[in-house]
Subunit: 231 residues, 2 copies
C-alpha cells in the first residue's frame, strides 16, 4: 500500500511522542504536547490512540529498532575484536542530548511499567550480548588476560557510555563523555598489551629452551616507560 511522502497522522503522533520522550521523558510529556507537535486534531488523536500509553509503547519500540542496528553493526564484520570495541566506544555520539533509550530508565513511568521497560531491557541486553561475544573472541585469542570476565567488561562498556552522558550533561561539556570512553579504552589497551608482552616473554622462553642457550631479555621490554600501543 502506497503511503506517499507524507507521514500518516498515526506516524506523526508516534514521531512526536518519540521526540518528546527523548527530550523530556515519558512522565513529563503530556498528551497535549504530543497533539500539538504532531499537528493532529484533538478528536483525531483519540481516534488513533486512547491515552498516552499506546503511542508511548509504539514510540519506544521504534526508537529501539532504529538505534540497535547502528550499534550492532560496529561490533561485527571485518577486523579484529580490538578494532570493534574501539569503533564502538569511539562512535560519535551527541553527548549533551543523552541516549534515546537509556534516558528512559530514569523515567518513573517507564521504569515502573514492565511493558514499557521491556524494549529498553531488550535493547541493552542485545548490545551487551554483542559486546560479550566480541570480548570473548579476544579472550580466546589470548589478547586479554583471563582474570577479566567478558560479561563484566561488556557491562562496563555499556555503563561507561550511559554514565558518560550523565557526566557530560552535568558539566554541560561533551569532553567528559569522551574522557570516560577514552578511559576504558586506555585500560583495555593496557590489559591487551600486557597479554601481548607476556606472550612475547613466553615465546622467547620457549625459543631459549629449544635453542639450548640463554637469550638476553629484550631491554626495550624492561625499560618500557609509558605503554605505547600500536595503531
Amino acid at each position: 500500500m502506497y503511503s506517499g511522502v507524507m507521514e500518516t497522522p498515526r506516524d506523526r503522533l508516534v514521531t512526536a511522542m518519540s521526540d518528546l520522550m527523548w527530550e523530556r521523558g515519558h512522565a513529563a510529556t503530556s498528551p497535549r504536547e504530543v497533539r500539538e507537535r504532531s499537528t493532529v486534531g484533538q478528536g483525531s488523536m483519540y481516534h488513533h490512540f486512547s491515552g498516552k500509553h499506546p503511542p508511548a509503547l509504539a514510540a519506544l519500540e521504534r526508537n529501539c529498532a532504529d538505534l540497535l542496528p547502528g550499534s550492532l553493526e560496529l561490533l561485527e564484520g571485518e577486523g579484529t575484536p580490538l578494532a570493534w570495541w574501539r569503533a564502538y566506544l569511539s562512535r560519535d555520539r551527541d553527548a549533551l542530548r543523552g541516549c534515546k533509550v537509556g534516558r528512559l530508565t530514569q523515567d518513573p513511568e517507564v521504569a515502573s511499567d514492565p511493558e514499557l521497560l521491556a524494549p529498553v531491557a531488550d535493547a541493552f541486553a542485545q548490545v551487551r550480548g554483542a559486546l560479550t561475544r566480541v570480548l570473548s573472541q579476544a579472550f580466546d585469542a589470548g589478547e586479554l588476560p583471563a582474570s577479566l570476565c567478558p560479561e563484566r567488561v561488556a557491562a562496563l562498556m555499556s555503563a561507561t557510555i550511559q554514565g558518560g552522558y550523565v557526566l557530560a550533561i552535568a558539566a554541560q561539556d561533551p569532553a567528559l563523555f569522551h574522557d570516560a570512553c577514552q578511559g576504558v579504552l586506555e585500560l583495555l589497551d593496557v590489559a591487551s598489551s600486557f597479554r601481548r608482552r607476556l606472550a612475547r616473554l613466553r615465546r622467547r622462553r620457549l625459543l631459549k629452551e629449544r635453542m639450548g642457550r640463554r637469550l638476553a631479555t629484550s631491554p626495550d621490554l624492561l625499560n618500557a616507560g609509558p605503554l605505547v600501543l600500536g595503531p
Copy 2:
C-alpha cells in the same frame, strides 16, 4: 534558635520535594504532590515558596550536601589509593533506585536550568576531583602505568557508577550495576599488577647487573596463566 524534634513546615516541603525529585524527577513532579506529601496546607505552601523552582533548588542543594561527604570520606584517610578506589566502587548502593543527584541530569527542567544544574555539576566535579587526586597518588607511586590519565580514569569511575544504575534499572537486576563496577576494578587490578610486574623485572635486572651474574627469569612470571590478584 531551638527548632524541636519536629521538622518545620518549610523543611517538610523541602524534604517532600527532595524525595519526589529522586523518585520522579523535577519535571514530572507537580506542586500538588509536594503539598500532599509534606502535609502542609495549600495556603501555607504558597506562604513559604512561590512555585516549584525555589523548593526544588533548596532540595537539590540539600541532596548534594547530604551525599557528598559519604563519597569523599571513602577517598581519603588511612590506607592506599588502591584500597580507596576499591572501597568507593564497592560501596553498597541501591542499584534499582538510582542516584539522587545523577538522575536529575536526565530531567529536562533541571538540565536546561543553569541554576538547578549548578549544584549537580559541582557535586560531580568534587567527586571527580577526589578520584583524580587518589589516582594521581597511585601514578606517582608507580602503581599504575603512565599511559593512563588520572582525569580520564576518574571520569570512567564516575561514569561506571552512573551508567551501572541505567543498566540495572533497564534489566531490573542489581547484578548489572555490580558487574560494571567489578569490571572497572578488574581492569584497574590488571593495570596495577602490570606495573608491579614490570617493576619486579626492573629490580631483578638491576640486581643482575650489579651482581654481575645472570639471574634466571622467574618461572612463575613466565608461566603466568590467569592473573591472580592479591586480597
